[in-house]
Amino acid sequence: MPRVYGGPAGWISVLVPAAIFVWFLQFLAPVAAGEQVLIGTDWVPSMEIRLSFLIDGLSLTFGLLISGIGALVTLYSTRYLGNHPEYPRFVLFLLLFMVGMLGLVLSDNLIALFVFWEVTTISSYLLIGFDSDSAKSRRSALQALLLTGTGGLALLAGMILLGNAAGSFELSEILTMGDEIRAHEHYVPILILFLAGAFTKSAQFPFHFWLPNAMAAPTPVSAYLHSATMVKAGVYLMARMNPTLGGTEPWFWALVVAGGFTTVFASLLAVRQTDIKQVLAYTTLMALGALTLFIGAGTSSAIKAAMIFLVVHSLYKAALFLMIGIVDHETGTREVDRLRGLARKMPVTFVAGALAAISMAGIPPFFGFIGKEFLYKAGLELEVASLWVTGTIFAASVLMFMAAGISVARPFLGRTPEALAATHEGPAAMWVGPLVLGGLSLWFGLFSDLPEQWLVAPATWAVYGSTAVEVDLYLFREVNAAFILSLVTFAVGFVLYLARDRIRALLSRIIEANPIKFDPGWDRVLDGLKALAEWQTRLLQSGVLQRYMVITFVTLAIGMGVTIWTKDALGPLVLDLAATFDGLVFMHWAVLVFITCGALLTAYTSSRMTAVASLGVVGIGVALIFIMFSAPDVAITQLLVETLTVVLVAVAMLKLPNLKLRNEERRPGHAALSLVVGALVTVVIVAVVQDDIDRRITDYFEIASWPEAYGRNIVNVILVDFRALDTFGEIAVVVIAALAAYALLRGKRPGRVKRGEDD
């Protein structure tokens, strides 16, 4: 057992995923028998949100990969980052991510799935930006957050549409309703929104550029998030939704075109990199593209191939990332031109890397060979677009062979240069992970019954939506087209590897000549957004109170006017003046006159002080009306607020030199606006009182107030008991408003942070 660094955080970070992995093992047997396990509890029952988990072949395969690779990666991190001052924080983020990812693949409820989806987005933002002193890390983190977050919002919209279309938010129910969903009128919008979420998360072209940038994260993060788990969340989503959304023309072409293009495009970019971590980043993109491609192709053999390749890729890619992390840790560089002959200095790392790289190159008897064979076989068997699918996967496999050579053969073989003479093997905690994963790549290839029975077959059934698919993995059975294609792949790949420098130069020339650049394009999009924000801030946030009031009231008037106009909500408006004024006694008339005088004085005075005071008169008049119509609580509140407002404004004004009102020329406009708003409010009120008010809620409050809430003051009982949550929201707003105003008033004079004494 290697020593675990990093203190208690280190132990926790290793034991938690390991325990989860062991816990998952118990489900292997029932799931392999074709069962589904549902575990759940009501979360927000009134909104049909359940915290429910579905364990079937797909989620179990993902769960085992996430927890198993998670344990190895965290063990690796104890040495890679164990001495970092922020190491416990790193562990927190990584475990948070793991929780999000596990929740995502296990959730049976769409809304819960979305919440976990966002947990992975946020925690990956924190992990990519872990080196927060570097501007590059921060930019990459923000880019990943904005892109995948935007996709997440689209996904939420899609989920709500889907949930409404299906009448349920439970995946286990939705999965059985594929035909209804595909025939639904909202099918295409649902599909577009889901794919927007999946393509951004899984970095499909044209959203691919955030993934290579995310390599700014520490290497364990890259190995975990950006190869084995997070980026596969999009793939998971597509696989999960295949029985529901898949099998249609739009689905097929969207996935096959985007996936195929990403596959070839990413492979080409991969072999032109000189930083091995970047090579691996782009090959990850290729793998994601291939998975998308084959899920889109949708035949049973394509799904089977995708599930095999999912496991194959997770194993070798995590191992390779961890391997390059060790090399970086020991030599201080990841540049392919500076690394040579490390095999003699770091034998264990070399063995681990070589096992993984051979699997990546697809050489028998490794698991990667089986993966590639089944991809070819599925591609050749397709009835539509067979040439496109087989061609892209052939091109990608050739380039993968070359990339495997660049990542392992090139740095480890040959003679050790002087500069690397002092290099030595990395610590055991670091090479255990890649060695286990690389070893599994070989073991699964030699004994392919194991992954077939426990992982691939159940996952294929879950994605295909039927247990009728026969899954039988084998290394070699006969010389067929797929096998011949494999041999050609090796030959071409080997030639390309030898000519790698010339190819790199050629690719660089082509890419530099290409005017469309995505990463700088992203900056331009952000600049455009900022310019838009500045423009609308200048337009609306002038800082002049008068303008704010005008904007607010114009908006109010338009809102009310348009609603009345379009909804035709008023019906015949009867303003029966006689009935309105009938029954008013002298006191009522007195208050009316009182209010009217106050309002007129406010409008016509040229002194601010008089205006404020007469506005107070209006307020007190309104308070009197509340008293007369037996609403004492409201009246008291109104009176107090009025008093405080007048006092406050008066305090402020005492110190203002200029008490004369300016902007005389604007007054007609303001008067017109006031009249319009006043007229509209009057119309709305007349319309409201004209209809009978629904008294059901009022009656309930009146009846229940004393026997159930033990209070005789219904207003107060509503505030603190029946609708306490609303009140809580309101007082939170009060606090926020006060703090914001405080910050504004204080913020003007930074020198006056310290208060008192000097006055």
Binding site: I636, T637, T643, L644, G711, V720, D721, R746, D759
Partner: protein
Amino acid sequence: MVNSIILNAATRLLVALLLLFSVYMMLRGHNLPGGGFIGGLIGATGFVLYAMAHGPEAARAALRYEPQNIAMMGLGIALAAGVYAVFFGDAFFTGQWWFAGADPADPDDKGLPISSVLVFDIGVYLVVFGSILTLVFALEEEV
């Protein structure tokens, strides 16, 4: 700050009365006009008066705690009163009651009712009180 002997002298009496009255208004709120919101407003009025008579520095000193902290404390108390119900298996913000010294045989005898609802109202009082004073003090110091 207004230099007026009358205001100064009257403030001393009025502040105490206003604060007392504000607590009274809050406590009676469940059965009669009043409540935490009104109580908080009245209490704040007392300190606003004090700040006008003696200046915001003196009012801050008299208050002892930062008004924004009082407001946040109120928000916390209100939240705690809501969460309290969850421990009894009720929904968030369900009122929890304890009738101290009530005679179980007599349904009309509620004894001294103490409730999470009252605690919530105290939270509302503190929020309103603290928020208004945060604003007023900052404003008075500014001008």
